[in-house]
Symmetry: C2
Subunit: 329 residues, 2 copies
């Protein structure tokens, strides 16, 4: 504790930050900590080539819940990105077509709109590029895209909606499926977390323990990678968590420097998107934080500090998106 406080003070002075800002009961200037975080935007960045309309979002929602674009007819995006489970699945490794077990943990799609790299290995840059992968993947929905498109064409409702949204000669096509899915996913934002309320000026939004955790998160350097509105830099960092031999980003680029590198996951809603890491082998935030400290910072954290950081992680849970079930044709 003494060491950490000294470092904090030194860092504060070195950055020339005022000590006259918001102070906590134990004398910490919180303003410089707040400055290291960004509130979650209320709308996601929308690409110029996929403008967002209400009906496109509704179509995307339907497709997100549509199991008939899977080979079995019962798996949809929402199977693994389950709205009841933080838009993830809360099991270590994704389970898909015929019960096959995948090699990685299902990332939440909540706030994925704020990431500049999709999938654990960043093999897609945008939500549009990402959207079709799981439909085709043999261990996920296992459906060739042309068959998925054909199946959608059987429904008048989809014909009408694709026509309204996209127009053109043959509006039901793979690109438009991706565009609609991406538009829907851009609405999956979780505002109003305790952290966001705190950043907006509600001093009571975080407990004292959460404020201590917030300071540790900054002082220990976690915020170096877990930064920006989604608490992810969308960059790749080498890490081998216990039990993982996954080459990660290297499988995409072939670069030696990318061996075992993974895109920084968002920490938004991390308390409800367990288990953790690319292989989903860590079930608790407590252990996840200790693994990160060891692997990335070469640190053994004291129990109290871990508990503070766990408390802070709970301050990153926002309001889940509210929407009714789509009525599929």
């Amino acid at each position: 504790m003494i060491l950490r406080r000294s470092l904090t003070l030194a860092a504060g002075l070195a950055l020339g930050l005022s000590l006259a800002g918001t102070a906590t009961a134990d004398g910490h200037d919180m303003a410089r900590y707040k400055d290291r975080f960004e509130p979650i935007p209320s709308i996601a960045p929308i690409p110029a080539d996929n403008t967002q309309t209400a009906v496109k979002v509704e179509l995307g929602k339907m497709l997100f819940f549509e199991p008939r674009i899977s080979a079995s007819g019962v798996i949809s995006c929402a199977t693994c990105h389950n709205p009841a489970l933080g838009f993830a699945d809360r099991i270590p490794l994704a389970v898909g077509h015929l019960g096959q077990v995948g090699e990685r943990n299902t990332p939440t799609v909540l706030n994925a709109a704020f990431l500049d790299a999709q999938f654990w290995d960043g093999r897609a840059a945008t939500l549009e590029e990402q959207a079709l992968g799981p439909i085709e993947a043999g261990v996920e929905m296992a459906m060739p895209l042309d068959e998925a498109v054909q199946r959608l064409k059987e429904f008048d409702v989809y014909e009408e909606m694709f026509n309204t949204v996209f127009g053109g000669d043959d509006p039901i096509n793979a690109d438009n499926v991706a565009n609609a899915l991406a538009s829907f996913q851009r609405t999956l934002i979780t505002p109003n977390s305790p952290l966001d309320r705190y950043l907006a000026g509600d001093e009571q939004a975080l407990s004292d323990q959460q404020k201590r955790g917030m300071r540790s998160f900054v002082d220990r350097g976690c915020v170096a990678c877990h930064r920006g509105p989604a608490l992810s830099d969308s960059m790749f960092h080498r890490i081998q968590v216990p039990g993982s031999t996954d080459l990660g980003r290297n499988l995409v680029t072939g670069e030696e420097r990318d061996r075992h590198a993974f895109r920084t996951p968002t920490l938004r809603n991390v308390a409800v998107t367990y288990p953790y890491f690319n292989n989903g082998q860590v079930a608790s935030l407590d252990e996840a934080i200790q693994v990160m400290a060891r692997e990335m910072l070469n640190l053994e954290l004291e129990e109290d500090e871990v508990a503070d950081m766990v408390a802070f992680m709970h301050a990153l849970t926002g309001d889940m998106p509210k929407f009714s079930f789509p009525a599929l044709p």
Copy 2:
């Protein structure tokens, strides 16, 4: 047409029904047709030994969406009884654990609370008796009940909720899982269908074609079995639809008279709970009506009459239950 009208008139006179009731443009007295139907109740019958409370319904909803009581961790009741698909799955045969294909079509749980026999073969009489079957069934969720119960016990939220709802020494047990699921399912009622609005006095709620279909439905005798609030007598009738060799009720009772007998399915929401019959091999209402006419009535219906009855079937779609996704622990 002449034959049917004569029969209708004769039946009306035989029953001593007044001809002074609501008449249609083509001179039909609709009052005696209306008398053959029951509006859908706004609440389901609640058994004395499973009283209904808001928190019990909420718990049941959580369990209904809970995939972690399946062996794979990704299949829940809502997988096959999908709220986006009329609480059924819209595929011919149910697909469950490891992609195994079952032998029967998934029945909707909508308005199942009004049935006195559950499953196609009526092997459960009540929703409570029905609820645990699919969890254990090897081709569905494939989870031994004691393991399902153990898994639920891992979550503090479930401990608290079962304790609040049921109390007692060991409230998380299979019986209480069934009780909560049944309570939730009793809320899955679909009011306000065109038929219900028509029965309540809105003469415009049915089109002329739907009124003709309604008369055919009565005059042809469909209403003999498809009667009561759910348009099912909850009784068993022998029928071998195309492609089916399923012994049905006989597999439960061993009785010769039950060979190929199935419980009358509800016709509520039949337009959105395709495909049809125990083997799900008929995709359209049009064909389903013709199969029923042939199999049960030994009749070949004219196209126009079939179209009228299809139109009437569309009048049986009510408002889908409105509820938000549960937030699972």
